[in-house]
C-alpha cells in the first residue's frame, strides 16, 4: 500500500501539465452538427500530433500505452487545466473506447491496419449499434438480422440510443447471424459503414435537449463478411471484451471531473447569499450535504485506485468495476440535484449541457444511471459476478 508516484509518473505528470497548458482549446465546443464533429476531430488530431492519442491503447497499435495510474494522472491534469469541454462528451468516444479496443483485442491484422490509425488521427467517427427497441438490458435478445449472401451480410432491423449516428462514419454493430442458436451464441460483431445504402438515421430528442441521440434503421444493408470482427456468431464474447474494458478506465475521466464539479459547487454556495444576505454555505443542511458530496467523491477516487491495484495484480479489470459505475452514476446525479437546490430560482433558467453551470448538466445527469448498462444491471453484475449470488 502506498500513495507514491514513481519518478516516471511524476515526470509524466509534468509533461502532461505542460502540454495541456499549451494545447488545450480555449473556445467552447459547438453543441451540434458538423461543427461539433469538426471540433471533436480537430481535438483528436491535436492529441495525435502531441503524442497523446490512444492513451490506453498499446504502443504497437499507435497508442500511448499508458498504465492505469498514468491515465488517471492524465485525466486529473486535464480537469486541473480547466477545460471548456468534458473529455468523454465527444463523438470520438466510441472509437477510442469501444470500437478501437475491440479491434485491438479481436481484430485481424488487416482490420487493425484499416481501422485503428484513422481513429487515432481523428479522421473517423464511430458510433455504437447495440441496443434495440426490444433489447435493452437484455441485450442478447437482439433481433436485427444479418443474413449471409455470398461474401456479404444482409442486415435488416433497427438499433436505438445510438449517440452521434448522424455524424458517424462507422458503427460497431451487433446482428443476429444464427437464428437457431441459443441467444448468446448467434450474434456477430461487425463494422458497418454508415453511408451504405439502406440505412436511415432519425434523431431522437432527449429530455436534456442534446441532439446527438439517434435511432438507426437497416433495410437490406449489405456489409462485407470481412467486416466481421472476432468471428462469425462470436459477437457476444467480442462485445463483452469491450464492456470489461469499459469497466476498467473508460469512465475515469468523468469521475475525476466530478471532483472539480463538487469544488465548483462549494465555491458557488460560498458566493451566493440567501434573502438575508447570508452565504448559502452558512446553512447547516447545505454545508452538511456539500461536505458529504466531498467525502463521497473522495471515496470514488479511492475505489478507482483500488480497482487499478486489483487490475495490476490480475491483469484484467474485474467485475468490481461495476460497483464504481453505479456508485459514480448515482453520486453524479446527487451532486446535480444538490446544485439545483443551491441555485434557487436560477434553476429555472436553462443552460447548455456542456457548460459549467447547472441546469443543462442536471438534465443530462439522468443518463448516468441508464447509459452503458443501467444501475440495475450493474448491481446484477456485482451480485452475480463479484459476490457469487445465483442468477434469477
Amino acid at each position: 500500500m502506498n500513495l507514491d508516484l514513481t519518478e516516471d509518473e511524476l515526470a509524466f505528470r509534468d509533461e502532461a501539465r505542460t502540454w495541456l497548458r499549451d494545447h488545450l482549446p480555449t473556445e467552447e465546443r459547438p453543441p451540434e452538427g458538423q461543427e461539433m464533429r469538426d471540433f471533436d476531430l480537430a481535438w483528436q488530431r491535436t492529441l495525435y500530433d502531441g503524442g497523446w492519442a490512444g492513451i490506453s491503447w498499446p504502443k504497437e497499435f499507435g497508442g500511448r500505452g499508458l498504465t492505469d495510474i498514468q491515465q488517471m494522472i492524465w485525466y486529473e491534469e486535464f480537469a486541473r487545466a480547466n477545460p471548456p469541454f468534458t473529455l468523454n462528451n465527444s463523438c470520438t468516444f466510441v472509437g477510442n473506447n469501444h470500437g478501437g479496443p475491440t479491434i485491438i483485442v479481436n481484430g485481424t491484422d488487416e482490420q487493425k491496419a484499416a481501422y485503428l490509425p484513422p481513429i487515432l488521427r481523428g479522421e473517423v467517427v464511430w458510433c455504437q449499434g447495440f441496443s434495440e427497441p426490444g433489447a435493452g438490458s437484455d441485450l442478447a435478445s437482439l433481433s436485427t438480422k444479418g443474413v449471409i449472401d455470398g461474401d456479404e451480410l444482409v442486415v435488416t432491423g433497427q438499433k436505438t440510443w445510438t449517440s452521434y449516428a448522424h455524424v458517424a462514419d462507422l458503427q460497431e454493430l451487433l446482428v443476429r447471424t444464427d437464428l437457431d442458436a441459443p441467444k448468446h451464441k448467434g450474434i456477430s460483431w461487425v463494422v458497418c459503414d454508415m453511408r451504405t445504402p439502406g440505412i436511415e438515421i432519425r434523431e431522437i430528442r432527449t429530455m436534456s435537449h442534446v441532439t446527438d441521440f439517434c435511432e438507426v434503421f437497416y433495410d437490406e444493408v449489405r456489409i462485407p463478411l470481412t467486416n466481421v470482427v472476432g468471428g462469425l456468431n462470436n459477437g457476444w464474447r467480442t462485445a463483452m471484451s469491450t464492456l470489461s474494458f469499459e469497466r476498467g478506465t473508460a469512465f475515469m475521466a468523468d469521475q475525476v471531473e466530478l471532483a472539480s464539479t463538487v469544488e465548483r459547487l462549494i465555491a458557488e454556495a460560498r458566493e451566493r447569499t440567501d434573502g438575508r444576505g447570508r452565504p448559502l454555505i452558512a446553512d447547516e443542511e447545505v454545508a452538511r450535504r456539500l461536505a458529504t458530496a466531498r467525502a463521497e467523491v473522495d471515496a470514488l477516487k479511492a475505489m478507482t485506485i483500488t480497482g487499478i491495484s486489483r487490475t495490476a495484480r490480475t491483469g484484467v479489470p474485474g467485475a468490481e468495476g461495476s460497483m464504481v459505475r453505479f456508485f459514480h452514476g448515482e453520486l453524479h446525479q446527487r451532486v446535480y440535484q444538490l446544485a439545483l437546490e443551491i441555485i434557487g430560482a436560477d434553476a429555472l433558467r436553462l443552460t447548455p449541457v456542456d457548460g459549467d453551470v447547472w441546469t443543462g448538466p442536471y438534465l443530462q445527469s439522468f443518463a448516468y444511471t441508464i447509459g452503458g448498462g443501467t444501475t440495475d444491471i450493474q448491481r446484477n453484475i456485482v451480485g452475480e459476478r463479484v459476490l457469487g449470488l445465483p442468477r434469477a
Partner: protein, 341 residues
C-alpha cells in the same frame, strides 16, 4: 500508488483474524453481556503480547514500529469482528504517554498491565489539560486502572488520569459498558493540549474500524442470501435481495478504499491528510450504519433475535460514530479544509 495490502500486511491481518476468531468469538463473549467489562485481564495481556497496542508506535517509544497503516488494518479487523474492549483508548493512551515522556506508564499500558477506559466530555465546558474537570461519559470502565480523557474537541486536549468509580448506566450495546463520572481538578498522569495529531489518528482508526464493520455485514448478508432458500431457491437470486447485497459491497469497497488512502496520507504527512481522514470517517460511518441496518433486514426474523450477531453491528456502529466527535463535527472539519491540490 497501490491500495491493496502487501504480503507482509496480509500476514498481519491473517494473524489478527485468527486470534479474533479464537479469542473474541461474539457468541462466547455474550456471556459478558451487561457486565462492567467485556474483556478480562488475561485476554487483554494476550492482545498486548501480540503487539496490538503499539503496532503503529515507533520502536524507540516502546512500540512495534509499524505505521498507522498497519494499525488501521488491525482496527478494520476489530470492526469486522465487532470486537469489544478499549482498544482505541489503549492505543491512544500509550502514544500520549510515550510521546509525553512517561515511558514507564506507556510500557505498562502496552504490556496490558494497566487497563485504560475511554472518558469523553459530555459538556462543552469540560477542561482537559494538566488537570481535568467536567462530566465525562466513560466506556469499558470495569476494572480500569486509567482513563484516557478527551474534551468535546479531541484535537484540543487529551489526558491520562487514574481511574475513579463510575456511575453505571444502561448501555445501548451490552458489550460496551457505559457510565458517567464527574471529575473536578483531577491531576493528569500525562496530558497534552494540542492533540490534533492524536485526534487525526483516532479519526483514521475509527474510519477503518467502521469500514471493517461495513465489510463484515456485507459478507454476512451475502453468505445468508446464498444459503437461505425460500420459494425453492436461494433468496440471493431475487433482485431485491441481490441489489441490497451489491449496495452493501459497494459501500464496503468505498469505505475500505478511502480509509486505507487516509491512513497512508497521514503516515506520509501529506498536507491533505485531514481532508481525506474526515472524508474517510464520513463515508465509513454512513457505510457501517447503513450496512448494519440492512443486514438485519436481509436476515428476516432470525436477524431480529438476540442470538444472531446482526444486532451487535448495529449498536457497535452507533457507539463508534459517537466516539471522538460525531458526524456534524467531521463534516464541518471536512468542509473547512482546502481541496486537495
Amino acid at each position: 500508488m497501490d491500495l491493496l495490502p502487501t504480503p507482509e500486511q496480509d500476514e498481519i491481518v491473517a494473524t489478527v483474524r485468527t486470534q479474533l476468531d479464537r479469542q473474541f468469538a461474539l457468541n462466547d463473549l455474550a456471556a459478558h453481556d451487561g457486565a462492567d467489562r467485556a474483556v478480562d485481564r488475561d485476554l487483554w495481556r494476550r492482545c498486548a503480547d501480540l503487539g496490538w497496542f503499539g503496532l503503529g508506535l515507533d520502536e524507540h517509544l516502546g512500540g512495534v514500529g509499524y505505521t498507522l497503516v498497519e494499525e488501521a488494518l488491525l482496527f478494520a479487523e476489530l470492526g469486522a469482528h465487532a470486537t469489544p474492549g478499549p482498544f482505541l483508548a489503549t492505543v491512544l493512551a500509550a502514544r500520549l504517554a510515550a510521546t509525553g515522556g512517561d515511558a514507564e506508564l506507556a510500557a505498562a499500558i502496552l504490556a496490558g498491565d494497566l487497563l485504560v477506559a475511554l472518558a469523553e466530555a459530555e459538556d462543552v465546558g469540560a477542561a482537559v489539560g494538566s488537570t481535568v474537570t467536567g462530566r465525562f461519559r466513560v466506556t469499558d470502565f470495569g476494572g480500569a486502572d486509567l482513563f484516557l480523557v478527551a474534551g468535546t474537541d479531541p484535537a484540543a486536549g487529551m489526558a491520562v488520569v487514574d481511574a475513579v468509580a463510575v456511575t453505571a448506566e444502561p448501555s445501548l450495546d451490552l458489550l460496551v459498558p457505559l457510565g458517567v463520572v464527574d471529575l473536578d481538578g483531577t491531576a493528569a498522569r500525562v496530558s497534552a493540549t494540542d492533540t490534533a495529531d492524536l485526534a487525526l489518528r483516532a479519526t483514521v482508526l475509527l474510519a477503518s474500524q467502521l469500514a471493517g464493520s461495513a465489510t463484515a455485514t456485507a459478507e454476512q448478508s451475502t453468505a445468508y442470501a446464498k444459503d437461505r432458500e425460500q420459494f425453492g431457491r436461494p433468496v440471493g437470486s431475487f433482485q431485491a435481495v441481490k441489489h441490497r447485497c451489491a449496495d452493501m459491497a459497494a459501500r464496503a469497497d468505498a469505505s475500505t478504499s478511502l480509509a486505507r488512502y487516509a491512513s497512508l496520507a497521514v503516515t506520509d504527512g501529506r498536507p491533505d491528510a485531514p481532508f481525506h481522514s474526515h472524508a474517510a470517517w464520513t463515508v465509513a460511518a454512513d457505510a457501517a450504519i447503513a450496512n448494519a441496518q440492512v443486514n438485519v433486514q436481509n436476515h428476516g426474523g432470525i436477524g431480529f433475535t438476540w442470538e444472531h450477531t446482526a444486532h451487535r453491528y448495529v449498536t457497535r456502529a452507533q457507539f463508534l460514530v459517537r466516539t471522538f466527535g460525531d458526524r456534524t463535527a467531521h463534516l464541518a472539519a471536512l468542509l473547512a479544509e482546502p481541496a486537495p491540490a
